[in-house]
């Protein structure tokens, strides 16, 4: 067993956990968190692809994962803004109809 | 070699304080006691870990950075502890008033 196999399996497992929960969880907020977990799983696969026993990792996948993290936080922020806006829309709707 | 054991001992002692703080967080009855456990024990634990690490690293630059990190964490923990406690006390008073 090497760190590669341990964390590779962790990455795939995290991806599966995130994917499954992103499909079935009943609240949008939680689906967003699940997508973040799945994305970390994909990140693990890339970090594993970069890792070399004895050091000297490949910098390209590292750059890709950093880009992936930034892209995902951007999308997450928009999704959460939508969750807040929907909450506001529902609140005002129920206020209008007694 | 013997010095190394001293530094490792400091880190171990720090970890014990962390464990105690976490135990307090989990077992203490109310929010104020928990805050008490966290802010006090963790700050001391972090100081010991930082001291031990600085000794193992044995360069002035590393020691300085660790000192700054400890100071910032300590100040942040104290402030956030204060904010949480103040918020909780206000919430309490409001409940009493009702």
């Amino acid at each position: 067993m090497t760190p590669e196999t341990i964390y590779g399996a962790t990455g795939i497992a995290l991806f599966a956990i995130g994917l499954y929960h992103a499909l079935v969880l009943p609240s949008a907020l939680r689906r967003i968190v699940a997508l973040n977990v799945a994305s970390v799983g994909a990140g693990f696969v890339m970090v594993i692809a970069a890792w070399r026993p004895g050091g000297g990792a490949d910098p390209v996948p590292h750059a890709l994962v950093i880009t992936g993290i930034v892209v995902l936080v951007a999308a997450t922020a928009v999704a959460l803004a939508l969750v807040r806006a929907l909450h506001d829309a529902d609140t005002t709707e129920t206020d209008d109809t007694p | 070699m013997i010095a190394d054991f001293l530094w490792l001992g400091l880190i171990a002692a720090g970890l014990i304080f962390f464990a105690a703080g976490t135990l307090g967080l989990l077992r203490f009855p109310d929010l104020f006691c928990r805050l008490h456990a966290l802010t006090k024990a963790d700050n001391l634990g972090l100081a010991l870990v930082a001291l031990g690490t600085a000794g193992l690293w044995a360069t002035p630059a590393a020691a300085m950075k660790l000192a700054v990190i400890w100071a910032l964490v300590a100040v942040s923990a104290a402030t956030s502890g204060h904010m949480i406690a103040r918020h909780a006390r206000r919430a309490w008073r409001q409940e009493d008033a009702l």
């Binding site: 991806f15 696969v45 890339m46 692809a49 390209v60 890709l64 999308a75 999704a79 939508l82 | -």
Partner: protein, 492 residues
């Protein structure tokens, strides 16, 4: 004396990406000048796209290694006939949609932010069309996805917000799947350039899973049945120009990337082609039935997109399952035809809603106001979507069916025919209403029934209608630079 600029010496490859990007920034910083900045960005991008197409037609196969770094390390932008066709589609659609927007009185909310979002969308799409690097393609698709979500909420209704959230979550899920596939590909092959991957793809055990993940992610973004659930609400609840953008253009980018990967990079197995075909058939049936049942015009048009994406996927599947059929040009012609016709339809539908005041299909014929030109555009676009000669839709379906006949693939042929018949069914529901407009008479001369904003959809509809006459030229352009045979920008 006029200074001589050597047009051939200019590197046009990044113009279709950077011009809209700078237009978006100018429009964002100076909201008052957003329209001018937007149209300028689109215009400059059009010039770049035209120049690249001209180079492709001379057989130059233009390509640029950005920053001078060659693959596998650097990112190469390259263009062939397929790229040029989609760049031109983007130019035509965005100029038409932009002009309509500029001619329409601005709605109160979200007026200025429309332009920067639309230009970022164009930058992302053009970036995806030009890129030959799989990770770079992922980033460009994300630019387009976030801009599209911003555009989709501009109507401000709770329904639009809900639809946009589902749209975004589907897009994020697609993005994460693509990212996993890229990770697996890099793990096995240590590179990201399509040309390099084409040479080694399929040699590693994890390539199958990587392919499934990437294609599933793209299918989700392209709303391929049964991953289409987010589409109808997102497309029907947006403002008309935005619906046109989303339906006609944004869906095409993941389909385009899938085509590049599927046929150009990964050697498609027969079974996978059959899977695509089955998904396509499901989409045709489901989308058509829902379109037949839809009560609102925009929802009908949105469901017809589900069915049309199914037809395109059927053509994909046919070209993968029967390489002898060579139907990929048919699939691409269908994509172009759908882009033109669907944009015209959504914009015409928007104008009809504006004039009549609602889009309930059953009551469309009970209005004293007659948006005549918009109805005419809608009808022309419908004829192209159905695929009657001489439209571009006809040219696409002809190639698809000819391929199916040549490959003795009778089931595929039957599915394509069924799709055509069903589209006649749901579109005639609308067209019949148009013809019965005389049931209610308004005061004659009260309203002329058309405005300047009817011009762009009419132009698009006429283009979709008449472009079939130039189908041979379009197919010749598609074949320029031998796309999908050997990828451009391949560095040995």
């Amino acid at each position: 004396m006029i200074p001589q600029i050597d047009l051939a010496a200019i590197d046009w490859m990044l113009v279709p990406v950077l011009a809209p990007l700078l237009g978006a920034i100018a429009g964002f910083v100076l909201p008052r000048a957003a329209t001018a900045a937007g149209m300028a960005g689109l215009g400059l991008s059009a010039v770049g796209s035209a120049a690249i197409t001209a180079q492709v037609r001379t057989g130059a196969a233009p390509s640029t290694a950005i920053g001078g770094w060659e693959p596998p390390l650097g990112i190469v932008l390259a263009a062939d006939g397929l790229t040029a066709a989609f760049l031109l589609l983007t130019v035509v659609l965005t100029l038409a949609i932009g002009t309509t927007r500029a001619l329409t009185p601005a709605p109160a909310r979200g007026a200025a932010i429309f332009w920067p979002l639309m230009l970022l969308l164009v930058a992302g799409l053009n970036g995806a069309f030009l890129s030959t690097d799989i990770f770079n393609i992922y980033v460009t698709l994300e630019v387009a996805a976030l801009a599209a979500v911003g555009l989709a909420v501009l109507t401000g209704s709770a329904a639009a917000l809900r639809a946009a959230l589902n749209y975004l979550l589907a897009g994020m899920l697609g993005g994460v799947l693509i990212l996993l596939g890229i990770g697996l590909l890099f793990h096995a092959h240590g590179r990201l350039d399509l040309a390099g991957l084409a040479a080694v793809a399929g040699s590693a055990p994890s390539d199958g899973i990587a392919l499934i993940a990437i294609i599933a992610g793209l299918a989700l973004k392209a709303a391929l049945f049964p991953l289409h659930a987010w589409l109808p609400a997102a497309h029907s609840n947006a403002q008309a120009p935005v619906s046109a953008l989303l339906s006609a253009l944004v869906l095409k980018a993941p389909l385009y990337v899938a085509l590049r990967l599927w046929v150009g990079v990964l050697d498609p197995a027969t079974a996978s082609g059959t899977v695509l075909g089955v998904m396509g058939a499901g989409a045709i049936l489901w989308g058509s039935v829902q379109a037949l049942r839809a009560e609102r015009l925009k929802l009908l048009v949105a469901y017809s997109t589900v069915a049309q994406v199914g037809l395109i996927s059927l053509a994909f599947g046919l070209s993968a399952a029967n390489p002898a059929a060579i139907a990929w040009t048919g699939a691409v012609t269908l994509m172009l035809a759908h882009g033109l016709a669907k944009a015209a339809m959504f914009m015409a539908a928007g104008r009809i809603v504006e004039e009549v005041g609602h889009d309930r299909i059953a009551e469309l014929d009970r209005s004293p106001r007659r948006p005549t030109l918009a109805q005419f555009s809608f009808a022309l676009a419908a004829i192209s979507l159905i695929g009657l000669p001489p439209t571009l839709g006809f040219a696409g379906k002809w190639q698809l069916m000819e391929g199916a006949v040549r490959a003795d693939a009778w089931i595929w042929l039957a599915m394509a025919m069924a799709g055509t018949l069903l589209s006649v069914g749901y579109l005639s529901r609308v067209l019949v209403g148009f013809l019965r407009f005389d049931r209610v008479r308004g005061a004659v001369g009260e309203h002329q029934g058309w405005t300047l904003a009817d011009g762009p959809p009419l132009l698009l509809a006429v283009t979709a209608f008449g472009a079939g006459l130039f189908a041979t030229h379009i197919i010749a352009l598609l074949a320029a630079g031998a796309p999908l045979g050997q990828l451009p920008g391949a560095m040995q």
